[in-house]
């Protein structure tokens, strides 16, 4: 089902938690609102679920207005499932009771069959008789997902679904959740502050900041073609170095002219901050570009080096760990860029 959010605004005591948020999620897609804590992403989610009333804008699902001027569908009639941050499993019901809770208007056999089906989908068929307090965090999380999916909602919302799990479980579960959602053909929207989580699950990601949507795009485009400086900073690692534009495909920097298409066109001669991702920098012993190693961090297959350019500007470089360079030593580098990300330099 297609979800459409237009100009969504929600204020608490004059403070706009969500400020003119607009995006659309196509049927069967998994979307994600990504942003630091307090950016309004959870408020937006609760408005879509119907637990909160927007002050402005419109939310519609498959063309039906759920919330908007003069319209408000209560949450229980939206057919939108939700996986809560703390799961909110019913402690007085066992796993099976929790999962079949939302299945009404079905005969018993159909009900049980559907509950079994979703429990198998999340791989918890054997634990149907357990109570929530007898499950691990990851298992509770999957019960919450199964419970939300069981009534075949038009949309599934996930509020920081992995925040209370440890990193190990988190990574594995993220893949499982995506697989389960895709097998069900569900349309889903999650909110998170963790970009790895967003990349692992979502088809489309919206980066939010202070109640506003900075960019609504695929993960690849967020990384390689960030629309704003905030997105460039928030998604992935990298550093900005100063330069100025010389024509359509060229930026002059202290590392020499850098070639590539600018993702946002800038006038020739403009002063620009050029984004260098760690993978844009390649070690080249013979290169005349010499840098000094300030810091390094071993990541298994690669080292992440922090390098100082002759001017003192710093850049990050992700280098295969075949060789171990000393901190304080010199390293020759060259740039390998396909496209250029630059933002007009603020005075």
């Amino acid at each position: 089902m297609r979800l459409e959010v237009e100009g969504l605004t929600r204020a608490y005591g004059g403070q706009r938690a969500v400020d003119g948020l607009s995006f659309a999620l196509e049927a069967g897609e998994i979307g994600c609102l990504l942003g630091p804590s307090g950016c309004g992403k959870t408020t937006a989610l609760r408005c879509i679920a119907g637990f909160d009333r927007p002050d402005g804008g419109q939310i519609s699902a498959a063309g039906e207005v759920l919330a908007g001027p003069g319209a408000f569908v209560p949450p229980e009639r939206r057919r939108i499932g939700m996986v809560f941050q703390d799961y909110a499993l019913f402690p007085h019901l066992d796993v099976f009771g929790n999962v079949s809770f939302g299945l009404r208007g079905l005969d018993r056999a159909a009900r049980d069959a559907r509950a079994r089906e979703v429990l198998d989908l999340v791989g918890l068929g054997e634990l149907a008789g357990r109570y929530p307090d007898e499950l691990s965090g990851g298992q509770q999380q999957r019960v919450a997902l199964a419970r939300a999916l069981a009534p075949r909602p038009r949309l599934v919302l996930l509020d920081e679904p992995f925040s209370s799990l440890d990193t190990e479980v988190r990574r594995r579960l993220a893949g499982d959740v995506r697989a389960a959602l895709k097998r069900e053909g569900a349309t889903a929207l999650l909110v998170t502050h963790d970009q790895q989580e967003a990349f692992a699950i979502a088809d489309r990601i919206g980066v939010m900041r202070a109640g506003r949507l900075e960019q609504w795009d695929s993960a690849w485009r967020l990384y390689h073609s960030p629309a704003t400086r905030f997105v460039a900073d928030f998604v992935g690692d990298g550093a900005f170095i100063p330069g100025h534009v010389e024509g359509e495909r060229r930026v002059a920097t202290e590392l020499g002219p850098v070639e590539g298409e600018l993702t946002t066109p800038l006038a020739s001669g403009a002063r620009v901050d050029l984004l260098l991702r760690p993978d844009d920098i390649v070690v080249d012993a013979g290169s005349p570009l010499r840098t000094r190693i300030l810091d390094k961090c071993f990541r298994g297959a690669q080292f992440m080096y922090t390098l100082a350019l002759p001017s003192g500007e710093r850049v990050l470089a992700l280098v295969p760990s075949h060789e171990d360079h000393e901190v304080g030593g010199e390293l020759g580098i060259r740039l390998e860029t396909r496209h250029l990300v630059g933002f007009a330099r603020e005075a």
């Binding site: 209560p74 229980e76 939700m82 809560f84 019913f90 939300a148």
Partner: protein, 536 residues
Amino acid sequence: MTLAGRLLPGTAAILVALPMLAVLAAVLHGATGADPELWEHLRSFVLPGVTRSTLVLVAGVVALSLILGVSLGWLTAACDFPGRGFFAWALLLPLAMPAYVLAFVAVATLDYAGPVPSLLREWFGAGFTLPPIRSTGGVIAVLALAFYPYVYLLARGAFLTHGTRALEAGQSLGLGPWAGFFRVALPLARPWVAAGAALVAMETLADFGAVSVFNYDTFTTAIYKSWFGLFSLETALQLALVLLALVAVALAVEQLARGRARYALAGAGARPPARLRLRRRLALAATVYATLVFALAFALPALCLAVWALEVAPLDLDARYVAYVTRTLLLAGMAAVACAALAVVLGWAVRAGGGWPARIAARAATLGYAVPGTVLAVGVVGALAAADLAWVALGATEGLWLQGTVLALLLGYVARFLAVAHGPVEGGLARLKPSLAEAARSFGLGRLAVLLRVQLPLLRAGIGTALLLVFVDVMKEMPITLMTRPFGWDTLAVRVFEMTAEGEWRRAALPSLVITLAGLVPVVLLTRRIEDASRG
């Protein structure tokens, strides 16, 4: 550890538990040694009626308290209506007014010749009558208005901690707010609601003053009458044993319910709960309902008391009155100090390696709050009588002269209210982690300095709360005082009993007002703590 080091805490704990143990022993022993003829009379003429009326009363009061407590708890926790913030704490205020005060105010104002029915007849004609207040329904209504706050407090707490969150989960699965209440919120709150209902049952079983006002016979009044009317301590002890069995059932229900009250939703979330918006008519109905309960259970009776107290003050405020007040304060003060001190000893004994004797003693010592005052009173007298007999058997020519002394009365108070002091003192002791004392000693402080500079200051708040709670409870206490006080030791509560027994309602107002005002102090503290908790 030395032998003395191990024996001392255990012995101390048992000594602290002695009043309660003696009462239980006396009730068990006395009940078996009764005159068979009297027991026969009791069994065929008293017991069936008293059992029936007590059970009817408990069932009615519990049912009505459940309705009032759960509905008001739900409205103030999960819904929005005008005055919600006020009612959230105001609906606890009836806890400050003893049931016997509410009872006599109700009888005084609503009886056929009372001011309210008279006024109604004046307005609507002589044929207009209210349902009679002196009836089973009347007692049930009055006791439910006095005791519903127990259910309200616990149910509201349960609804607040996970009602709204779980309700959202229910809504996301297509459940409307009303269905959500019955299918999610109520089942979740069930352990707390059951615990509240058990507390109401225990309070109803223990109530003596209110049923006396109504001349409604229950076990407590039967115990009182068989002693002061039939002069048979044995009969009283037998009735006490049956009553104790009923209390044990209520206590077991409460323990069972609390045992299951382990549901907790991880991380309730910092977000303020989104309350249900009631439609205008429903919101208005909720406000009217809450106002009605608050007015009937507290505001109007308090107003009556104030007006009557002002009327009779010039007549009543004489030297005798000063004596009532000083005796009340003296007894309450002594009992408070004794209970707090013993609670500290008990806590120390359990921690200092008293082992299982100390733990069992602590359990027994804190059982007293569940035991009705009438049972404790006859138990204390029975225990002292047995002690006298033993003393004489040892060769003494006279008894110990403990019966009818202030000491006997204090024994009863300690047995009943040690549990009240135990809670806050335990809370304070729990904060005294061993590492604290060790840290202090690592700075070179001696044992005494550690006690004075670290441990006592940490305990001070707990001890203060214990003193306050016991003090107020003793002020309100009626049956133990009435049945075991030395001659001339009349307290405010005794004065209320005597005036209401004679139907001198207005003259009972002044002492009642003083007791109620004192009772407000702990209730206000309680509401503050709740507000802090819900804000934090």
